[in-house]
């Protein structure tokens, strides 16, 4: 049975149900046990399983390092980074340890763990609490970067991330936590490495992840009034990316707009643009467009942060330009 719950509740439910099913799963991080996490995602876990939820000091390197070691021993750690920006503190463990273990052990063991990290801007907390970290991770073979956009995806993808034998950095955009949507009550999983076609259309492909999917949906509605049929693709797993779904969509529509929070240079939009030009160049009817943040640290004051983050109007503008080309 399905009902409407928030993105945060969906994540919380995924953890509860998966921990019920698999006793190897545990949660670790700052304030994740007794308080249930800064954003409440691990709420109620410690109450149910006091020996499977662990509060630590501020020690991100130790949290992720411990997770790597425990994972190799067959446990399934779910570590929380209160803000994805703190990946900077444990980057070595993620990049040089977790991402390499499967390769190093020739597949006999791997870092079967999830690092949940709260990502993205919009909360007026400036440059150390607002970054989009996905490009920091997407150039690291061995890592999986998952980025849900709806409560339904949040639950299903978190479950499959926990079950995955790879190290997954699971990005939770703070702008989505209160978003509501239909979520089945029962335990289910959604496939990793598979994009979702959110909306089908023949004229223009929009690729967007996390909160940017909302921009894409709004733009598609607006453009529909002008007779333009947009196809929206939400990658769900940003890395390794489901190229096939994107490329075949662009082969159909001939136009591509990528909406990405985070700076333009070396963002995933750059990669997707290249893939398309390599594989389906002959189908393109217009140059690939990207709508992104400006290339600056995220400033504090609302007028400044709003200046830097992607503008909805720019999505419309990019789509119209692609159509008019």
């Amino acid at each position: 049975m399905s009902r409407t719950i928030t993105f945060s509740k969906a994540l919380n439910e995924a953890l509860h149900q998966e921990m019920e099913r698999d006793e190897k799963v545990f949660v670790i991080g700052e304030d994740v046990a007794k308080m249930g996490g800064d954003f409440g995602i691990t709420s109620g876990i410690w109450v149910k399983w006091p020996d499977r939820a662990f509060d630590t000091a501020l020690s991100e390197a130790a949290i992720v390092g411990l997770s790597c070691g425990a994972a190799v021993c067959g446990l399934r750690p779910v570590a929380e980074l209160m803000f994805a920006d703190f990946i900077g503190v444990c980057y070595d463990q993620i990049v040089n340890n977790a991402a390499k273990l499967c390769y190093m052990y020739e597949g006999k063991a791997s870092a079967q763990m999830v690092v949940r990290a709260v990502t993205g801007g919009g909360i007026r907390c400036a440059y150390h609490h607002s970054q989009c970290v996905e490009p920091w991770l997407m150039n690291v073979p061995g890592l999986v970067v998952v980025a849900p956009a709806t409560p339904y995806e949040a639950k299903g993808l978190l479950v499959s991330s926990i079950r995955s034998n790879n190290p997954v950095v699971f990005l939770e955009h703070k702008g989505l936590y209160n978003q509501k949507g239909e979520v089945p009550e029962e335990l289910y999983s959604l496939p990793l490495y598979q994009a979702n076609v959110e909306r089908s259309g023949k004229d223009l492909t929009i690729v967007a992840a996390m909160t940017m999917v909302n921009f894409a949906r709004r733009a598609a509605e607006e453009l529909a009034k002008e007779g333009v049929e947009c196809e929206i693709i939400n990658p769900r797993t940003l890395f390794p990316l489901d190229k096939e779904t994107i490329v075949s969509s662009v082969a159909k529509t001939g136009r591509l707009v990528i909406v990405q929070e985070g700076p333009k240079f070396m963002g995933y939009g750059a990669e997707i643009g290249s893939l398309v030009s390599e594989d389906v160049f002959e189908y393109l009817k217009a140059p690939v467009k990207r709508v992104t943040s400006l290339g600056t640290p995220i400033p504090f004051a609302p007028v400044l942060e709003d200046e830097v983050l992607p503008h909805y109007d720019d999505v419309l503008k990019a789509c119209r330009e692609a159509m008019a080309f």
């Binding site: 304030d31 000091a57 503190v89 907390c125 007028v303 942060e305 200046e307 830097v308």
Partner: protein
């Protein structure tokens, strides 16, 4: 150590200034006028006022996320309203509204800025201390860090290197008993965190962080030692934050009665009692301090409220030292 009547009265005024500042910040944060997360130092004024009073303008200061007080007292009196304007995100803020509560800095008084990655500046502090030695000056570096932050590896790398190289650093460990919801005794093996000092072969002291005179005495000793080339000191100030971790946190994790027992140890109340009982300061003199501070803080609030928002174009300035980045 006992401060003279005038000294104590001055520190009293500093503490009242911090408290009134924080109360206004809390008020406007709750109203939504101040955006973002705000970490308040109410209850911890003696540590902040005492540390600030022990340093000179050319000493390097690295306050933490709860360090509005040190920032305020380190800044020039005419700039104090700009500390508040920064927290309001205004154009007139010390940093043009780009930093906010967690990222205020004022290089002209060597306030190197607070930082929202906990533990990050604890290693940066090595560099300013190193520069003092390298340049043959006697400026010291004071770095604030919380009990929870001491879990970061950077704190330990820093203390190890500073101890080995005898760098002039004060590790101001502000132990307010909690890191968000987690008590320090649940995440550290020691009952007093100053015990770390032994392992690093540096002096370590546990200080009553709610006694302004004790703070100034211990901090002053550490400053002198660092200035004279004796190396770093780890000071653990025992104190308590009255508010939740951030403004709006209901702090349900605190046992009943704990806050009340700490309010009994209110550093401002203690200083006032000392002023009146030991120094014979009259009620009216105390009242005059409060009146002065109220008017002062009110002027910061008015200034902040009336100040314009930043120019959006300022978002793209100073990303690089020499080249521009693309704006809209």
């Amino acid at each position: 150590m006992t401060l003279s009547k005038d000294q104590l009265l001055q520190r009293y005024e500093d503490m009242v200034l911090i408290r009134r500042f924080e109360e206004e910040v809390e008020k406007y944060s709750k109203k939504g006028t101040i955006p973002g997360f705000i970490h308040l130092g109410i209850g911890q004024e003696a540590t902040q006022a005492g540390i600030a009073a022990s340093l000179k303008e050319t000493d390097y200061k690295f306050p933490d996320h709860r360090g509005h007080g040190i920032i305020l007292l380190s800044s020039h009196p005419e700039d104090r309203k700009r500390v508040m304007a920064e927290i309001f995100g205004k154009r007139t803020g010390l940093n043009g509204g780009r930093g906010g509560s967690m990222h205020v800095n004022d290089l002209k008084v060597r306030d190197m800025g607070n930082n929202a990655i906990q533990g990050s500046t604890v290693v940066t502090a090595l560099g300013t201390a190193f520069a003092s030695v390298y340049n043959h000056t006697d400026d010291v570096t004071a770095i604030s860090m919380g009990d929870g932050t001491l879990g970061e590896g950077t704190c330990h790398e820093s203390m190890n290197m500073a101890a080995t190289w005898k760098l002039p650093i004060l590790y101001c460990l502000i132990n307010n008993h909690y890191a968000i919801s987690t008590r320090y005794t649940e995440t550290h093996p020691q009952s007093q965190l100053a015990e770390w000092a032994q392992g690093y072969c540096v002096p370590g002291e546990v200080v009553d962080g709610n006694d302004i005179e004790a703070v100034i005495e211990a901090t002053g000793r550490a400053v002198q030692r660092a200035r004279e080339g004796g190396g770093p000191t780890l000071l653990e100030y025992m104190t308590y934050r009255w508010q939740g971790h951030f403004s709006g946190d209901p702090a349900a994790y605190r046992p009943a009665g704990e806050l009340e027992s700490w309010k009994e140890k209110d550093p401002i109340k203690r200083a006032r009692e000392k002023l009146m009982d030991a120094h014979g300061v009259a009620e009216s003199e105390i009242q005059a301090v409060h009146d002065r501070v109220d008017a002062e803080v009110e002027s910061y609030v008015q200034f902040s409220l009336e100040s314009p928002d930043p120019d959006p174009a300022y978002a793209t300035a100073h990303v690089y030292a020499d080249i521009e980045v693309e704006g809209r």
